[in-house]
Symmetry: C2
Subunit: 407 residues, 2 copies
Amino acid sequence: MQADTFSLASGFAATATACGLKPNGALDMALIATDAPCSAAGLFTTNRIKAAPVIYDQDVLAANAGAIRAVVVNAGNANACTGPQGDANCRAMAAMTAERLECRADQVLVLSTGVIGRQLDMTKVAQGVASLTGPTAHRGAGAAARAIMTTDTRPKVAARTTSVAGKPITIAGMCKGAGMIHPNMATMLAIVTTDAQASPATLDRALRYAANRSFNRVSVDGDTSTNDTLLLLASGASGVRVSDTPEADDCSFDQFTVLLTEVCIDLAKQIARDGEGATRLVEIVVSGAQDEQQAHQVANAIARSPLVKTAIHGGDPNWGRIVCAAGYSGAAIAPDRLALWFGPADSRVQLVANGLPLDADLAAASALLRQDPVFITLDLGLGSAHTTVWTCDFSKEYVEINAHYTT
Amino acid sequence: MQADTFSLASGFAATATACGLKPNGALDMALIATDAPCSAAGLFTTNRIKAAPVIYDQDVLAANAGAIRAVVVNAGNANACTGPQGDANCRAMAAMTAERLECRADQVLVLSTGVIGRQLDMTKVAQGVASLTGPTAHRGAGAAARAIMTTDTRPKVAARTTSVAGKPITIAGMCKGAGMIHPNMATMLAIVTTDAQASPATLDRALRYAANRSFNRVSVDGDTSTNDTLLLLASGASGVRVSDTPEADDCSFDQFTVLLTEVCIDLAKQIARDGEGATRLVEIVVSGAQDEQQAHQVANAIARSPLVKTAIHGGDPNWGRIVCAAGYSGAAIAPDRLALWFGPADSRVQLVANGLPLDADLAAASALLRQDPVFITLDLGLGSAHTTVWTCDFSKEYVEINAHYTT
């Protein structure tokens, strides 16, 4: 979907501005605000080094998840490894925003992304917050999706609408992330909004389910960042309630969660496709595993193997590297039961059966690695569990982007 | 040390030949033979997909570690994922060699390295074995070290001599490996010889100690191969016995193991420095850990982070990526106790103290990342355990090499 025509769910308004945190003058702050307090849930990085806004947001949600009024975001500076000064700057950013919106600071969530280990320029942040809430702000969720980008080459947005007893509900989200991407919770910021009505506990449960099937299945480079944050905000503006025991006009928890998962998978795949230096999205299906955990181990080992990803980039049907990655994944593997295919389900080419190479058409196999998306299916032949993960190919541009990021 | 002037320990003779397994006509088979049966020990890949020669060698050593006569090696084909035919080809390679050397097949160890999933061309192998044992063979350990190379840019050899009660003993080894390198046991073949006299059990114990401080501390790309093998062969030709309870003329186990560890560290560092596309060796010291296991977790996370390695390549003092990798390593981390330095011990520059950036000279820090080797020291401030690992920088050439390996 195009960012230009993208809207958040009703009850939310977005603005963006350029305050100078990005040296090139691009949009670098965004604000998502609600008219009324809304419910929220969040998932955060598993990194032991947590950026100031991650710690701050966890506190806000613990105290106040039923009455959130805004999310303020800056790009260009991660506010990570910044110590007490960083914590104070994060709180100040929330307080400035709250003052403008006439709410309490503990109703404002803060997200930061960018370089680690530098203090935020609070003069610029103050100008940014003023601009975001003033007449000169760039309006609209598309501008906000652009403002949160770092090395992303394009804004990432997704929306789905469904009908509950004749009333529409919408889930609409944006995210950023292109490097330092790995489960759990990629260097990634994502803000998903809905006009459904739900308690923080219900949102939290739905969000965990959706994240485990979307953002936690994406790997770009195996690095898990200090700032990863996924937020879900519910305004209730549709008048439709999400319930575990739905009455006539309610949305069932399952219906809501399926829709949320669709939005999150859409966003997660956009992150993988826009991996730093990537030219193609790669979808890896591992089937025939003893259990889902083992399917994940195998799929993740393949998804993060630089040897697999460079081979895909070159269109080199070097399937031995895929089998090798499965072998060192730690999962149970019976070498003589492996089967491997390249290509989409309806026209796939089998390269390996019973662990042995088939006399496959390697030119056709190479062509399938040059399509976008690339599909790789590995069956372990041991059980019925399966999983899907997404990654990207690995090009010289990844090195180019990352060899000179701060300099 | 130069391969041209390199010799194995006394009691061993090496030859090399080109039989056509490498399409460019370079040396691609090597033979290390002994006059008399010798003691041996081996360590092998932890990958669940094990190449035919790995399984074969494990059987040979289980049955016959006290009477090994030769190691025959081919490059250009890994004989991995080749099923029963691959097993038969491996046994045939051993049998051909044994026939030439007038020993039993189960006294011959076999090593293979190269592309996965293709059957060995046994006509070429037979020609190779004949040539290795005939008058036209290239003689000398330097030629053998060249023959076992794949994407290596240079042969890798190391030797140390010490004196025991006035008698010299030597440990001399060669190895190959440049990609698919990660603990445990890198895509790497290493053959270490000594003229000391030791039982297989003593060799095994010494080899495990040495490998854990050398080859198991090297990472190039996080991929663990199907073929990794480290062999230690002892001819006894020096007349000096290695003993746990040394008498007058014996070498103590500790003295032998220290010497062996030195040789293995020398070889392992050569592998890291010659990582595919690498321009510099990187030595990472993690100190102040609660225990050695946690020190390893942190050091390995840093060593395999593409973001850290690309930053080093670009001379970008982006230390946040190092701290970030420590954070997601899984080890205990107290963010406000971290200290970080770049550069060798006698002239290092501190960038982080108590988890916060210092006002360091970033130009000087960048210069330290452009030296070879690069030294990175991270102190966790939690205890007294420490470790050292080796890796390399990550350049565009890695992608270039690996995008078109089989095609």
